[in-house]
């Protein structure tokens, strides 16, 4: 029986239990930390994963080695006999057959796992076979030359049984981003048809990380072999749209994906007052949160914004508030009215201080997120209700103000939730990928709207098909319930300080040691079907990394206003001529031009230039008013002052 690699041993101090056992092997054995083994004995088969290792000889004390070498370290290797050395392994039980009665691991022979053993040990037979399999490849288990595919159960990854995935690891190796990209690709290729449709919304919060998901990468032969082993096609995402706010000029996109070759799948993300006001709570800090501010915001949202509001005390004609400029005019009228009354401090039961606070906060966002928030009231938004199966929407907020990032998170996730509740998003499941969870859902610090939203998503999203894939450097410093609700936990290379936190106390020192030195492309995985963490290797994602993407598709430099307008129109219609656009916008107010560009982008007409020109309207020459002629003084008469 050549495949026997060891034998289970048990002593009073190190007994076999139903959850743990020890076995020894030859020194040359291929067993290592994380290896899966099979034990057979007493009509029982047990699968276990190696969690720790020990080696020792019959040397009782180091002093005896000194004596044997006559105190000369150079002689220690010259002894004619070598002390016997044991390789003793500690393993945690993954599965037993029969499952009942649950008994200690028998003192049987130990074998290295085969492909079939990996399937059985990880209980993958329950969801990778049958009429409706739900396995999603996540990587390969590699040990002793074996490359066995490992699957996650879609029911436990995207709901409804469990959901969410959290990945943690040190920054700089690109492992977290790569793992999510690979897994999303795997989900898109293998998510079973009977479970419906799926899309992904990825928030890009760092540089160009997720900006080139539609561009193919060059893969090494080893990566291609892994793809083949997992029965996956090494290809980039088919249906990708990157959404990014404008910069403050309102025409240059605030993203590193501005290369002209990629312009067709890069859309502006622009919101108006209506979109912002619905999520105004995001803008309020902890000190601001009170019933009064809420009440006034509600008043604005329900009575003022987007409809005619009449108050004869403020002015004779009604207000029509659609833009931040309209809103400012409305606030100004209130303040003028209150000031005119002298000592009055209340308008319509709202204290003037509350009104000022809300005005300041709303004004603040229009300033700090100038490229995200437009003043013309027209939005360029994600395609709510028209999400496509297997589509990826990247929301690039890497370059925007943190406050605006919070607003984007809050609104996008809330809208996803609303649409999924109504079942009118266009897809049945949405994976939301958020990196830097340490920043957005910290374990301590203020209880922000975004943190509450992520918590709500992690606790209730799976019932809706709204799934959170999150990543961070320090899992121990993330809100515990957010990571605790993740059914699947993934660990890349870890910082040793992080591993010393109590949250990792269940891991053996050897597993921690392996995690601290984990090479790129390897992960440790927890999944509801796996009773112990498993190490897997995954191939490099078949998409261009952010760094390579920026090299291959260098971002366009920020263009002068007219050129930026021309570029946007050219993205819609290649026939648009730069000079014609420049001539058309010359002398026009920039806000008018922006409004026309946004309207053209929304309409996507066949003839973009003509449409843009129509939206811009006819040029009206500015007329300088003629100086008024004053009255001539009356000459003569009896005027004593003349």
């Amino acid at each position: 029986m050549p495949d026997i690699i060891g034998r289970v041993v048990a002593t009073e101090l190190k007994p076999s239990t139903p959850h743990q056992f020890y076995f020894w092997t030859a020194r040359q054995s291929a067993v290592g930390i994380g290896a899966i083994v099979r034990v057979e004995g007493d009509d029982r088969v047990v699968w276990g994963v190696v969690t720790d290792a020990f080696a020792y000889s019959d040397l009782v004390t180091p002093l005896h080695d000194v004596i044997g070498a006559d105190g000369d370290p150079a002689r220690t290797g010259l002894a004619p006999s070598e002390r016997p050395e044991i390789r003793l392994w500690q393993a945690a039980v993954l599965r037993q057959q029969p499952e009942e009665p649950l008994q200690p691991v028998p003192l049987g022979q130990v074998h290295l796992a085969t492909d079939a053993d990996v399937v059985a040990a990880l209980r993958m037979d329950a969801f990778t076979t049958g009429d409706a399999p739900t396995g999603v490849p996540v990587g390969v288990y590699t040990a002793a030359g074996l490359e066995a595919p490992v699957f996650l159960d879609a029911d436990f990854l995207l709901g409804p049984e469990a959901a969410h995935l959290n990945i943690t690891g040190v920054s700089g190796l690109a492992t977290k981003t790569s793992a999510v990209e690979f897994l999303l690709s795997s989900i898109f290729q293998k998510f079973p048809a009977h479970k419906g449709s799926v899309a992904a919304v990825c928030f890009n919060v760092k540089g160009p990380d997720l900006c080139f998901l539609d561009q193919p990468a060059e893969l090494a032969e080893a990566d291609r072999r892994l793809y083949a082993r997992l029965d996956l096609a090494p290809r980039p995402f088919d249906d990708v749209t990157v959404y990014a706010p404008y910069k403050a000029d309102g025409v240059n996109l605030n993203t590193l994906r501005t290369n002209e070759a990629l312009a067709a799948r890069t859309e502006p993300l622009v919101w108006g007052l209506r979109e912002v006001l619905d999520y105004a709570e995001v803008l309020l800090n902890k000190d601001d949160i009170d019933a009064k501010a809420d009440a006034f915001i509600d008043f604005l949202a329900e009575r003022v914004v987007g409809r005619e509001f009449e108050d004869r005390q403020l002015r004779d004609r009604p207000f029509l508030v659609n833009t931040f400029a309209d809103l400012e005019e409305f606030f100004r009228a209130i303040f003028d009215y209150v000031e005119a009354l002298g000592r009055a401090e209340v308008w319509r039961t709202h204290h003037i201080a509350t009104i000022r606070k809300v005005r300041n906060r709303l004004g603040n966002i229009s300033t700090r997120a100038k490229g995200l928030v437009t003043d013309d009231g027209a939005a360029s938004d994600l395609p709510w209700g028209r999400f496509r199966d297997r589509s990826t929407l990247v929301v690039d907020v890497a370059g925007v103000d943190p406050l605006a990032q919070d607003l984007v998170f809050a609104r996008v996730v809330s809208k996803l939730r609303e649409h999924l509740e109504r079942r009118d998003l266009g897809v049945d499941h949405v994976v939301v990928f958020v990196d830097e969870l340490n920043k957005y859902a910290p374990g301590d610090g203020p209880d922000t709207y975004v943190r509450k939203m992520l918590l709500d998503l992690s606790e209730r999203g799976r019932y809706l098909g709204l799934v959170l894939f999150s990543a961070q450097q320090f899992r121990s410093q993330v809100q515990r319930r957010v990571v605790g609700n993740a059914g699947t936990a993934v660990y890349g290379r870890m910082d040793s300080d992080e591993l010393s936190m109590p949250a990792y106390s269940t891991l053996s020192p050897a597993v921690k040691s392996k995690l601290a030195a984990l090479p790129k492309g390897e992960l440790m995985l927890r999944h509801p079907h796996f009773t112990q963490p498993i190490f897997v290797r995954f191939p490099r994602p078949a998409v261009l990394s952010g760094r390579d993407g920026v090299e291959r598709f260098p971002p366009e430099p920020d263009l002068p206003f007219a050129d930026a307008v021309a570029r946007q129109l050219k993205a819609l219609d290649r026939s648009v001529a730069r000079d014609a656009v420049a001539e058309l916008v010359h002398g026009r107010r920039e806000e008018d031009v922006r409004r026309a560009v946004h309207a053209t982008r929304r309409a996507r007409p066949d003839n973009a230039f003509a449409y843009f020109k129509a939206q811009l309207g006819a040029w009206v020459e500015r007329e300088a008013p003629a100086p008024r002629r004053g009255l001539s003084p009356v000459k003569g008469g009896s005027d004593p002052y003349a």
Binding site: H64, A69, P80, S81, E82, P84
Partner: protein, 256 residues
């Protein structure tokens, strides 16, 4: 004598163990159960492998007790105690122990023969070669005796024998008391005894007689000095117990 040298070529170590225990009484005479084993472990490279092994579980008792045991000891080897004397609980126990030790020696000789049948490597035995004419005449066997219950000299010669300095040997002599099978013998000090008792680190070596006893004694002494490491701790006799013999004992005990 020269500096220590590694043993050239293949070498094996041979030893035996016995474990015995009275488990019952037939009248006043004890019934003893014993586990007896012997093995030769050959060193290949720097590690040991079992080259030959014999193991027996025996019941030792007076013939009438063995007969009375009947089916209870079916499948066991048996050794019948002599019936010259009337049964005695202490005297019979001594006889049983002696019978077990004889059986162990017999097993050791069987193992030695078995090893020698398949190999012409050196064979180092724990104890004297003189119990077996075959061993005593085998030019590639070495007996290493740790105990010094009987000493070969008296007077000044004995003092010189027992005060051997570290890494030196005595002159070669032919022990007179074991005339059954003549051998050449000498004492070798493996570890310095100063500050300890005179027997510390002192072994007596036996080999088959040769034409060049001095040269052979020097040669084998150099090889044995090299066997001091690794030390065979935690055995209390580690100053005289070669690691190869220690390895055989441990192997036999682990198998019990």
């Amino acid at each position: 004598m020269g500096a220590e040298q590694p043993w050239p070529g293949t070498v094996a170590f041979l030893d035996g163990t016995q474990w015995w225990e009275p488990v019952a009484s037939a009248g006043v005479s004890p019934v003893v159960v014993a586990d007896i084993a012997a093995a030769a472990r050959e060193r290949a490279g720097r590690t040991f492998r079992t080259a030959a092994v014999r193991r027996e579980r025996v019941v030792v008792a007076r013939p009438e007790a063995l007969a009375a045991a009947g089916a209870a000891i079916e499948g066991w080897e048996t050794i019948a105690l002599p019936v010259d004397e009337p049964p005695h609980p202490v005297g019979d126990l001594f006889l049983a122990r002696a019978a077990v030790e004889r059986r162990r020696s017999q097993l050791e000789r069987e193992v030695g023969r078995a090893y020698r049948a398949g190999s012409d490597g050196w064979l180092v035995v724990d104890g004297s070669l003189t119990g077996s004419p075959d061993w005593a005449g085998d030019r590639r066997m070495v007996g290493v005796i740790k105990s010094h219950a009987s000493l070969p000299f008296a007077g000044e010669a004995l003092e010189a024998y027992l005060r051997l300095p570290h890494r030196t040997r005595s002159s070669v002599f032919q022990p007179a008391s074991r005339a059954r099978a003549p051998v050449h013998s000498w004492a070798l000090r493996l570890w310095p005894w100063e500050g300890k008792d005179l027997l510390y680190g002192l072994v007596r070596v036996e080999v088959a007689p040769t034409d060049d006893p001095t040269g052979r004694a020097d040669e084998i002494s150099r090889w044995l000095l090299a066997e001091r490491a690794p030390v065979s701790t935690p055995d209390a006799r580690w100053d005289r117990l070669l690691y190869g013999i220690h390895d055989v004992e441990r192997f036999l005990r682990s198998e019990r």
